[in-house]
């Protein structure tokens, strides 16, 4: 029983971390039809923002607040300089953002070196859950992810901005003819998606080794989660992450992490075969 509870906590932890990364990807893809290959590097920039703040003598919490702002701003610049010129050419967006990801990664190596950095864990205590110690910071990560999910759903389903954004997703030309400034929405949405990646990187930094490759470990499961969950609805990454993260944690515990990866990929292929538009596409119609 206790074992099961801890397992559930571990799975939730992984799932919510994936959601944090995948949500930004899905928002950008939904509005602009851009697959942002540089999303992992935005995650990276979030983590390095915290490293930089700590080096300068600042506190972790300040870094955590600063990271989404900095990376959101980077997103704004990237959108203006690169993405907006190619966003109507699907393949070019993949190439352009891929090139960007390489550039950002190299810039990080030049600025911080290829070695890994550590970020202090701001809540380095554990609490006992059914007699097993569990790190409090992991609970904090889950709380942040849940908050981000709630805010994002609120933003897209309860505000005028969200209505306009969903209108642009459904029919860009018609939305523009109704007076909606699609350029401004693109910019805002890309920046928001980038900010989410930056926040994810910053909040995960204390429990990871911060190095130029760290984005990859979340980007692949995030992409898988989107494929499995479907990109047509904001609930897609939630369902997909639950499927991927749940399967991974369970299989890793029953057998081994290597087997878990094989199981996850197999599961992903089966789901994509059965539901080409993802689980959310199946459940929400559309």
């Amino acid at each position: 029983m206790e074992q099961l509870f801890i397992l559930t906590l571990d799975a939730s932890n992984f799932i919510l971390a994936i959601v944090l990364v995948a949500m930004g990807l899905v928002i950008i893809f939904g509005l602009m039809n851009v697959i942002n290959m540089a999303h992992g590097e935005l995650f990276l920039l979030g983590a390095y923002t915290v490293v930089l703040v700590e080096r300068a003598g600042g506190h972790f919490w300040f870094g955590l607040l600063l990271a989404p702002l900095v990376v959101g701003l980077v997103g704004l610049v990237v959108e203006e300089l690169v993405v907006r010129h190619v966003y109507h050419r699907f393949l070019d967006t993949i190439l352009a953002t891929w090139g960007l990801s390489i550039a950002i990664k190299q810039a990080v190596v030049i600025a911080f070196g290829p070695a890994s950095h550590t970020v202090t864990n701001p809540i380095a205590t554990s609490i006992e859950i059914f007699g097993t110690p569990y790190p409090v910071y992991r609970l904090f990560i889950m709380a942040v992810a849940l908050l981000v999910i709630a805010v994002t759903f609120w933003l897209f389903f309860r505000t005028a901005f969200g209505l306009a954004a969903r209108g642009v997703i459904a029919n860009r030309d018609m939305a523009a003819c109704l007076g909606i400034n699609t350029r401004r929405l693109d910019r805002a949405t890309f920046a928001y998606g980038a900010a989410l990646a930056g926040l994810a990187g910053a909040v995960m930094a204390p429990i990871m080794s911060v190095d130029p490759q760290m984005g990859l470990g979340f980007l692949i499961p995030a992409f898988l989660a989107i494929l499995v969950g479907g990109a047509g609805h904001l609930a897609g990454p939630l369902l997909g992450a639950a499927a991927i993260g749940g399967t991974d944690t369970l299989a890793a515990n029953l057998w081994s992490p290597v087997v878990a990866q094989i199981v996850v990929f197999t599961m992903a292929i089966v789901v994509i075969r059965l539901f080409p538009r993802g689980l959310a596409g199946r459940w929400f119609g559309r």
């Binding site: 005028a160 209505l163 306009a164 969903r166 209108g167 459904a170 029919n171 030309d173 018609m174 939305a175 523009a176 003819c177 109704l178 007076g179 909606i180 400034n181 699609t182 350029r183 559309r286």
Partner: protein, 233 residues
């Protein structure tokens, strides 16, 4: 209110509009007629900024709007009801109407309820998905969505297409009333001659991307041969 001079526009590799000259006077309903494929929809899309203007001028209320982006044209007071309606099928009726407001300066806070006065059926269906409405109701929604933003000029592309005749007459009646009450100017593209003759005062005929004739509706009602000349296939 709207003056189009020497307008040329089209799609990649094919010029559709070959120098459109058109004058729409303030107030009332003006009609644009022509056979299929003559460029009526392309003209509407060019006026809205959806199709790039290659040459010519589009002067709306004294301002050249050629080259402006669609949202800016919309916010200057031109609304568009496209052929095929293009309502947001997965959104509720109320959300569709709100989408007609969110982009307007200060519009996000405005109540879409004003639209329900002219279109009571939409009030009944406000919580329903727009895609589940009948064709006539969808057309009313598309018109209401255009009107909530309080435009000065309404571009209406084939509103009777695919709709039962009885409903068409009902919509025509609503249009006439709105135009009169709100001082709205309408540029109507329509194949249904009866609708045109009952609504419009002025008719322009388009052929191969040019306006080739203009007649008062009363004149056309007397002499149906003119209509026949420009519309027969």
């Amino acid at each position: 209110m709207l003056t189009v001079q020497g307008l040329e526009a089209g799609y990649r590799g094919s010029r559709v509009l070959n120098g459109i000259d058109l004058e729409v006077a303030e107030g009332g309903i003006a009609a644009l007629l022509g056979r299929n494929g003559m460029g009526k929809t392309t003209l509407m899309r060019a006026l809205m900024g959806l199709v790039p203007v290659a040459a010519g001028r589009i002067v709306f209320q004294g301002r050249d709007i050629a080259g402006l982006r669609p949202y800016a044209i919309s916010n200057l007071g031109i609304a568009y009801v496209p052929q095929g309606r293009e309502i947001f099928a997965d959104f509720t009726v109320e959300e569709n109407l709100k989408l007609g407001l969110v982009g307007k300066p200060g519009g996000a806070g405005t109540d879409p309820a004003s639209a329900y006065r002219h279109f009571p059926i939409l009030a009944e269906r406000r919580g329903q998905k727009a895609g589940t409405l009948s064709g006539g109701q969808q057309q009313q929604l598309a018109i209401a969505r255009a009107l909530v933003g309080r435009p000065r000029l309404l571009l209406l592309d084939e509103p009777s297409e695919g709709i039962q005749p009885s409903i068409v007459l009902q919509i025509a009646e609503i249009l006439r009333r709105v135009a009169a009450e709100d001082g709205l100017t309408v540029l109507l593209v329509e194949q249904n001659v009866e609708i045109v003759l009952s609504l419009a005062a002025d008719c322009a005929f388009i052929e191969k991307g040019r306006v080739v004739a203009r007649h008062a509706a009363a004149e056309l009602a007397r002499d149906r041969d003119i209509l026949h000349r420009y519309l027969a296939v």
